[in-house]
C-alpha cells in the first residue's frame, strides 16, 4: 500500500447570482501556468480546467445582476462599505492560496505574488472607505437663482459589464471590480482569459462576505466570445473595456453605443499605483433635485 494520497483537484466554477454553476454550455478550457513560472520550460504546466462561458451564461449573469441591483444600490453606503471591508478580511485569511494562484498564473516569484495579493486586499479596504465619501466629491449643493435648495447627488448607473485586465489577473481584477460595486452598481465580470483561476477563487471569497448574490458575477472564458454579448445587451448600463485589445475594444464600443452605455476605454494602467477616483466616478449618474425652501 502506497503512502500517496489521492490528488484532490479543485473544480473551478463560475460565480453567478451568488451560486457556483458550471457553464450552461458544459464547456471547459485548459488553463496553464505562465511560461515564465518557476519550473516551466517553454510550455506552461496544466493548472486546471476553467469553465468556457457561453453567451447564455452572460445573459444569465446580467439577469442576476439586474435582480441584485435594487437591493444593493438601495443599501446604505455605510453598509456597502462594511461589506467591502468584509471582503478584505476574508481575503486576508486566504492570502497563501491567492499568492500561489497568482504566482502560477502570472509567473511571479512567491514574494512578488504575495505583494500583489496584499495590494489587492488593501485596495478593497481603500475602496470600502470611499463608499460613504464619494457623494462629497461627486455631489454638490448648487447655487441657483431661485428659492430652492438645489442638490446634485451621485447615483449608481446600474449593471456594469467589466472586462477584467488580461495581464494582471488578480490585482488588476480587484482594481476594476471594487470601484464598480462600491457605489452601488452590480457587475458582470469577464475574467482574464488566460489566467482566470484567481478570479474564480475570488468568487468563493465574495460568497462568504455578506455580499448579496448577484452583485458580482464572474465569467471565465474567451473574452472575444462573451464581451460582444455584454456590449450589445440592452439591459447593461455601462461597460469597462479594460481587458479588451484595440480592435475588439472598437467593435465593443460600437455595439455599446446602441443603448448609450457608458464606456470606459482601455488605457495603460500601472495597477500597483495609487488608483485615484477615476474608475469610481466613471460609473455614476448625477441626480439633481430642486427642493423648494420653506418660507
Amino acid at each position: 500500500m502506497s503512502d500517496h494520497r489521492l490528488n484532490v483537484l479543485k473544480t473551478y466554477k463560475l460565480f453567478v447570482g451568488g451560486r457556483f454553476p458550471r457553464s450552461e454550455s458544459g464547456r471547459v478550457y485548459e488553463v496553464t501556468a505562465a511560461t515564465s513560472a518557476p519550473g516551466a520550460a517553454g510550455q506552461g504546466d496544466w493548472l486546471a480546467n476553467a469553465p468556457l462561458s457561453s453567451r447564455k451564461d452572460a445573459r444569465d449573469a446580467v439577469t442576476a445582476a439586474r435582480k441584485a441591483f435594487g437591493g444593493w444600490s438601495g443599501a446604505t453606503a455605510y453598509n456597502r462599505g462594511q461589506v467591502l471591508y468584509r471582503i478584505a478580511e476574508m481575503l486576508e485569511g486566504r492570502r497563501e492560496q491567492f499568492a500561489a494562484e497568482v504566482a502560477a498564473a502570472e509567473g511571479l516569484s512567491g514574494a512578488r505574488a504575495a505583494a500583489q495579493v496584499d495590494a489587492a486586499v488593501d485596495r478593497w479596504v481603500w475602496y470600502a472607505g470611499w463608499s460613504d465619501k464619494v457623494a462629497q466629491i461627486a455631489g454638490s449643493a448648487n447655487p441657483v437663482a431661485g428659492p430652492y435648495f438645489n442638490l446634485s447627488t451621485p447615483e449608481p448607473t446600474g449593471v456594469v459589464a467589466v472586462l477584467a485586465p488580461q495581464e494582471s489577473s488578480f490585482l488588476g481584477l480587484v482594481s476594476v471590480l471594487a470601484p464598480v460595486v462600491v457605489t452601488g452598481n452590480t457587475a458582470v465580470v469577464a475574467t482574464s482569459e488566460k489566467a482566470p483561476l484567481p478570479a474564480l477563487s475570488l468568487g468563493e471569497v465574495l460568497a462568504t462576505s455578506d455580499l448579496p448574490g448577484g452583485v458580482v458575477n464572474l465569467l471565465s472564458g474567451r473574452t472575444a466570445e462573451i464581451a460582444p454579448t455584454l456590449a450589445a445587451h440592452q439591459d447593461v448600463n455601462a461597460i469597462d473595456l479594460a481587458g479588451a485589445d484595440g480592435a475588439l475594444a472598437a467593435d465593443l464600443e460600437t455595439a455599446a453605443a446602441d443603448n448609450l452605455k457608458r464606456v470606459l476605454r482601455p488605457q495603460p494602467v500601472d495597477w500597483s499605483a495609487d488608483p485615484g477616483t477615476d474608475r469610481l466616478l466613471a460609473f455614476l449618474e448625477t441626480k439633481t433635485v430642486w427642493h423648494p425652501m420653506g418660507v
Partner: protein
C-alpha cells in the same frame, strides 16, 4: 389478423367528426353520456371507474417533453403562437379602470414598436371591469380580442349558488365573451360530485346571452387544492360532462398553480374525452408560467398529446400576466440578435 386490426381501429374509423364544446351539436353528444350523470351514485361510479393516474410516469413524461430544443424559426413561430394564446390577466383588488385600459391597449399592440406582433387572445378581468375592458378594446381597435371575466365568487368559490349565478349573469350582461368559473372544491373533495356537476350546468346556462352567442365557459379546478392526480382526472371529466368549453388549472391565487404534469394530465383527459364523445374541449394552464421557455414546453406538450387541432387560441390558452413581457423580450432578441431588457417592455 385483419379482423384484429379492424377491431382495434374500429373506434377511429367510425368515430364521428369532432364538434366544439360550445357548438349546438355538443349537447346531443353529451346526452350520449347521460347514463353516467343520471344520479350521484352513477356519477361517482363513473368518476371512480376512470383509470388511476401513474404519477411517476406522468411526471417523467412531462419532464421528457420539457427537454425538447426549440430554436430559430420554430422558436419564432412558437413565440408568436404563445402570444396569440395569452389571456392577459389582471385580477388584483387594486385594479382600476385606468389599469384595465392600459392592459387592453397592451393586449391589442403588445409591442408598440413592432406592429407585426400578434394580439393576445383575451383580456381577463374581474366582472366589474368587463364593461371597461370591452369599451377599451373596441376603442383601441382590438375588436377581435375577447374579454374573459372570472365569476362565481372567484377565487374561493365560497358563496351560495344564486350569488354565483348572479355574478355570472352580471359579467355576461356587461359583455364578457368568456366566463372563468371556479368549482366548489369543498363539495368536490367531500365527494358531492353531482352538486359540482349541477353547479357547472347552472353556470353554463347563465352564460347564455339573449340575442347573441353564449359566453364560453372555462372551468377552473384549482388543481393545487385537489390533492391528487386522480382527482384532477375526475374533475376534468366531471367538468367536460357538465358542458365546460375549456378546463383551466388554477386561479393563480394559491401556492401551487399550473404545473406541467397536471396540465399534461388535463390534455390527456381532453384527448380521451374527444375520443369517447367527439366533443372538443380547450385547456388553459394558468398561474406560474412566466418565461418563454416554460410557454414553449407547454406548446410542445399540446402538440405531442393533442396535435395541431389544439394549437390555436381557440383551444389552448395561457392565463398569464408577466409571461407576455418575456415573450416580447425573446422576440426582440430573435429580431435584433442582442438581448433585450425589461426597460423595453411595459411595466404592468
Amino acid at each position: 389478423m385483419t379482423y384484429r386490426y379492424a377491431r382495434r381501429y374500429a373506434h377511429l374509423v367510425t368515430m364521428p367528426s369532432s364538434v366544439p364544446a360550445y357548438g349546438a351539436e355538443a349537447a346531443a353528444r353529451l346526452a350520449s353520456m347521460a347514463d353516467a350523470t343520471a344520479s350521484d351514485a352513477a356519477l361517482r361510479r363513473f368518476l371512480h371507474g376512470l383509470p388511476g393516474v401513474d404519477a411517476v410516469g406522468l411526471q417523467a413524461r412531462a419532464a421528457t417533453l420539457g427537454t425538447r430544443s426549440i430554436k430559430t424559426t420554430a422558436k419564432a413561430y412558437a413565440i408568436d403562437l404563445a402570444i396569440s394564446m395569452i389571456d392577459l390577466t389582471t385580477l388584483e383588488g387594486a385594479d382600476t379602470p385606468g389599469k384595465v385600459r392600459a392592459l387592453c391597449a397592451k393586449g391589442v399592440h403588445p409591442d408598440p414598436t413592432d406592429r407585426s406582433v400578434p394580439e393576445v387572445a383575451a383580456i381577463c378581468v374581474y366582472p366589474d371591469m368587463v364593461a371597461t375592458a370591452k369599451d377599451a378594446l373596441l376603442q383601441g381597435g382590438g375588436a377581435e380580442v375577447r374579454v374573459a371575466s372570472v365569476a362565481t365568487a372567484f377565487p374561493a368559490g365560497r358563496a351560495a349558488l344564486p350569488v354565483k349565478l348572479a355574478d355570472t349573469r352580471d359579467a355576461v350582461a356587461a359583455g364578457a365573451d368568456e366566463i372563468d368559473m371556479v368549482i366548489d372544491r369543498g363539495a368536490f373533495l367531500s365527494g358531492r360530485y353531482l352538486e359540482v356537476f349541477d353547479e357547472i350546468r347552472a353556470v353554463k346556462e347563465a352564460c347564455a346571452r339573449e340575442g347573441g352567442p353564449a359566453a364560453h365557459l372555462k372551468v377552473i379546478f384549482e388543481t393545487g387544492e385537489l390533492q391528487t392526480y386522480d382527482n384532477v382526472r375526475r374533475a376534468s371529466w366531471l367538468a367536460m360532462l357538465a358542458g365546460a368549453d375549456f378546463i383551466k388549472t388554477s386561479t393563480g391565487k394559491v401556492a401551487v398553480n399550473a404545473t406541467p404534469p397536471v396540465t399534461l394530465l388535463m390534455l390527456e383527459a381532453v384527448r380521451d374525452f374527444r375520443a369517447a364523445t367527439g366533443v372538443q374541449v380547450g385547456v388553459k394552464p394558468a398561474g406560474g408560467i412566466r418565461t418563454t421557455k416554460d410557454a414553449i414546453k407547454y406548446l410542445v406538450m399540446v402538440n405531442e398529446t393533442l396535435g395541431e387541432d389544439w394549437l390555436t387560441a381557440d383551444w389552448f390558452r395561457f392565463g398569464a400576466s408577466s409571461l407576455l413581457n418575456d415573450l416580447l423580450m425573446q422576440r426582440q432578441k430573435l429580431d435584433t440578435g442582442r438581448y433585450s431588457g425589461p426597460d423595453y417592455v411595459t411595466v404592468d
